[in-house]
Amino acid sequence: MRIVHSMLKDLVAIDDDFDAIADIITNVGLAVEDIHHVGGTVAGVITAKVLRTERHADAAKVHRVFVDAGDGIERHVWCGAFNMQPGDVIPLATPGTVMPDGRAIEPKPILGISSDGMLCSARELDMGDDHSGILILPADTPLGVPYGEALGLEKEVVYDIDVLRNRPDAYGHLGVARDVAAKLGISVTPAPVLPPSQAPVRSATVELVDGDRCPRFTSIVLSGVKVGPSPDWIARRLTASGMRPINNVVDVSNYVMLETNQPNHAYDFDTLGGGGFRVRLAREGETMISLDDSERTLTADDLLICDATDRPIGIAAIMGGQNTEISDTTTAIALESAWFEPAAIMRTVVRMGLRTEASARFERGMDTHGIERSTARFVELLRLTCPDLVVHEGAVDARAPQLPVPPVLRVRSARVGALLGTPFTAQQIRTLIEPIGFVCTEVGDDLDVQVPTWRPDCSGEVDLIEEVARLHGYDLLGKTVPKSTQPGGLSGVQQRRRRLRDVLLGLGLTEAMPHPFLTAGELEKAGLPAESVRLVNPLVVGDDMLRTSLRPGLLKAIAFNESHRRSGVALFEIGHVYPPSNDVLPAEYEALGIVIAGADAPAAVAVWRELAAAMGWGARLDQSNVPAGLHPARSATLSLGKDSIGVVGEVHPDVADAFDVSERLAVLELNLSVLLANEPKPAAWKPTSRFPSSDLDLAFMLPDSVTAEKLDKAIRQSTGNLLVDLTLFDVYRGTGLPEGTRSVAYRLRLQSLERTLADDDVAAVRAKVEAATKKMGAVLRG
């Protein structure tokens, strides 16, 4: 919202210390985000006369302009515009000038010749849209002076304010003025008084058909109107506010809205059918042409302003119609000011995608009694250009019972103190909030507070406690720290997640954060089931599937890196996935995904084993259950009881192809919501022996149908507690071995807690292992 300093000054007696005013406005909660100086002069831009111009053989788009800034010194400027003649007075931005767009002027050399500044167009000086050439000033303009001074330009200072949702009143200068006045301990300028109405009676009648949607509608007829331009100061202030001046009637209408916050609409009274208004809901599919020349199709939930013949002449609270627009020949107007039900207006705005200055105000909630002040101000301002203006008798103020009545709220002083941490007496509270219109009655230590009609946001005690804090000043409420007896800390799951992440990083894996949305087809491309939860309103069309697996995102990341000549990239992600479910919410859980480019399945299994050992996890590796999208002969499901908790292995080569990845891809995915849920048992100490150990190397010929894991288990079971370590150190397939078998070599480290092992002990272990492994088809070699 643009608050114009001069307009504010009309409402509250402030001085011109703009930064101080901005601070006051910010501190009452209407953050000033920027202060603009509109119009006036740009410091550093002075007037100068063109002496001569000169082309340079090597510069096609710029020429050299020599100017005199009144000091008799010839200055040289490179310029891209060619519209000046010797003798023209032009604005020269001297080096060091900061232009309104933030650009700083530097003596930038071209072709080795420096430039003593820049010649400016009108647009560059924020004086309009003209950028067709350099601004030529009147020939008699004095030289070497600020150009704005020479032109008699007046500056407007504008505060760019972030108006909060709970301050609908602050969309008008009046709302801001009330806060500023309260902070300064002064009053806002009293409302102007509507001049006495005159005969003859001229009424614009009002019929409220759907009064629940428009509980108040006023009309007043003004004649003696002469349409023409507005006074300069009104046009200037409107421009500074971001509105375009049109004519005196429309400008006053807009000006009054900006000042008082009350939107209004001036209809040409002579084109108003039946000489009156009818406020009703539209018929489904009814159309009308709005002021912006668009045909609008309406629904039965949209409110219309019609003339007395039921012809639509405006979409209530949003935009007037073309058919009753003010024209050059208008001499009498019917001024409408009303109060519309906000929620319904918002629905129409959203449906039509049409938000206007008026609708923005109505949908946030207007003052139910702001009409009187704004109507009086309208007449006061229009009289400046229409001295013969007549306010006719017969003004109408139609009301429906649904017009809200602001509440009286009980405010307990003790409660104010308890919430703010500083005690306040009823008297102190009263002193703070009465200046902004809250009327207080003391009830013992407490107050009954009548909420003003322009603060529809205040509906409970706590709203008023905020007003107290705001007007007292947040910075004066002190800083204390609550006395907590609660110990801080991470939960078990969070601690384990951190440990997991540390182990992953130690294993050389780097953390990626792919986008959690997938586009249609990406799950199938990864070989995964296509079912997923969809977004109703994606930001990018098609980017609407909530991921059910971290894998597609990681595969895209690997592909991106491979395409940028980074092979062997090892990535992990810890993040949520959102499989569909029939429950209240999707079956969201936290997952770990790992993809290692240039690595094969055993690398993935090695990572799994490392993680399982570090985290105290156990799971069954089931190679007979091939997970979707993975290499059918090099992948396994990891299960806990009946539940799958992850997959391990290698990405299917078809999937790698589909993602344009040429490397092998080791993959591991785990359900962390399950795995991190339980605290693993702490590792139990096993005593280490003082006696020497003996190593026994055994090689087996093993059919391919028997897993190493099975052999491993048999060795462990047959050796009992003498085995302290078992290492698979070689696997061999090929010459010398029957088809369908391989040789696997293990080193068994044997050790007793009680004695040094003799050769016989080792031989006995060998015999037991041989017997136990023979049963599964393993043949001990050598």
Partner: protein, 333 residues
């Protein structure tokens, strides 16, 4: 006999003098003092001497010779060993800047690093950490937070709606605040909790805005909690996280779920103010939605972005850089 001893000694010393390395010395030691060494052999001859005197003299001479030779051998061996070790050490000389690159440690995402640093600071201030789902019901994301259907403040949130359940019933959470309600429903006060997590806004991304980003939210609910406690907690956090030279302030603002509401800014040691996040006293309607009596307990909440912390810490000029998953980016942190 004595002559033999002297001859053996002299021969040993002479050969020692001409030895060229530790191996030669060790070989000589074996030849002279080993089991069948020249001096060892003479020991056996002692018994064959005729008189006690002769035995005594020869014995003494043999002892002296053995001690002398052994000493000389040990001294020479030491010299050779030191010289040979010196040579070996020089031969082993390496240029330690010649390192062939091997796969090293992995890199935690900068956002994770910021997330953990924030958690750690709040844990130090006595907070626990809570989490919640990213896909939420409309009730948790809006209604329970004092934003019933058609509440104007809903338009401050550009919401992603999820096609799940009744139309409009499921959203991607627009803030971490729904976790506040989940915490209130499960943990009785006192509550001192921070809630980090991923959030979603349906808005066009640019250098400072993402549609998917991360927030951390704090919630304190206890007896007698005041706005001053909020200001003091923000101040304590500011100093703990940013450093001693930083201070903070609260400015009036508006959020539907807090009242009074505030923005909090931090002041750098250079004197610049930076807007950091929003905060306020938990609205009585929110406490009620969480099953807490607002007359008995009061509380405050605050929240701000995590991504921006990472962006500023590492001077990253565009937040979108952080989500390219480009290894050349990730490896920098």
């Amino acid at each position: 006999m004595i002559d033999q001893i002297l001859a053996a000694r002299n021969s040993a010393l002479a050969r020692l003098a001409s030895a060229t390395g530790s191996d030669a010395v060790r070989a000589l030691e074996l030849e002279v003092l080993g089991k069948k060494g020249s001096l060892t052999d003479l020991k056996a001859g002692l018994g064959r001497l005729a008189t006690i005197d002769e035995k005594k003299q020869a014995g003494r001479a043999l002892n002296e010779a053995t001690t002398e030779v052994a000493g000389a051998l040990a001294a020479r061996l030491g010299e050779f060993r030191r010289a040979e070790r010196a040579v070996q050490l020089e031969v082993e000389r390496l240029d330690l800047t010649e390192v062939v690159r091997k796969p090293g440690r992995g890199h935690a995402h900068p956002v994770t690093q910021a997330w953990q640093r924030l958690e750690d600071v709040f844990v130090g201030l006595g907070f626990q950490v809570a989490e919640g789902p990213e896909v939420e019901t409309d009730w948790y994301n809006f209604e329970a937070l004092n934003m019933p259907a058609n509440h104007p403040a809903r338009s401050m949130h550009d919401t992603f709606y999820v096609d799940h359940g009744a139309p409009g019933s499921t959203v991607l959470r627009t803030h971490t605040s729904p976790v506040q309600i989940r915490v209130m429903q499960t943990i009785p006060p006192p509550i001192y909790m921070v809630m980090p997590g991923r959030v979603f806004r349906n808005e066009t991304t640019d250098a400072t805005h993402l549609a998917v980003f991360h927030q951390i939210e704090g919630l304190v609910i206890d007896r007698g909690i005041t706005l001053a406690d909020l200001a003091g907690t923000i101040e304590a956090f500011t100093k703990a996280f940013f450093g001693d030279g930083f201070t903070s302030r609260l400015r009036p603002s508006y959020f539907p779920f807090t009242e009074p509401s505030a923005e909090f800014d931090i002041r750098t040691p250079k004197g610049d103010w930076l807007e950091l996040g929003g905060c306020g006293m938990v609205h009585p309607n929110v406490l009620r939605a969480g099953g807490i009596d607002p007359e008995e307990f009061s509380g405050f909440a605050f929240g701000f972005g995590i991504d921006r912390m990472a962006k500023e810490r590492h001077s990253i000029n565009d937040v979108r850089e952080m989500y390219t998953n480009d290894i050349r980016f990730l490896e920098q942190f």
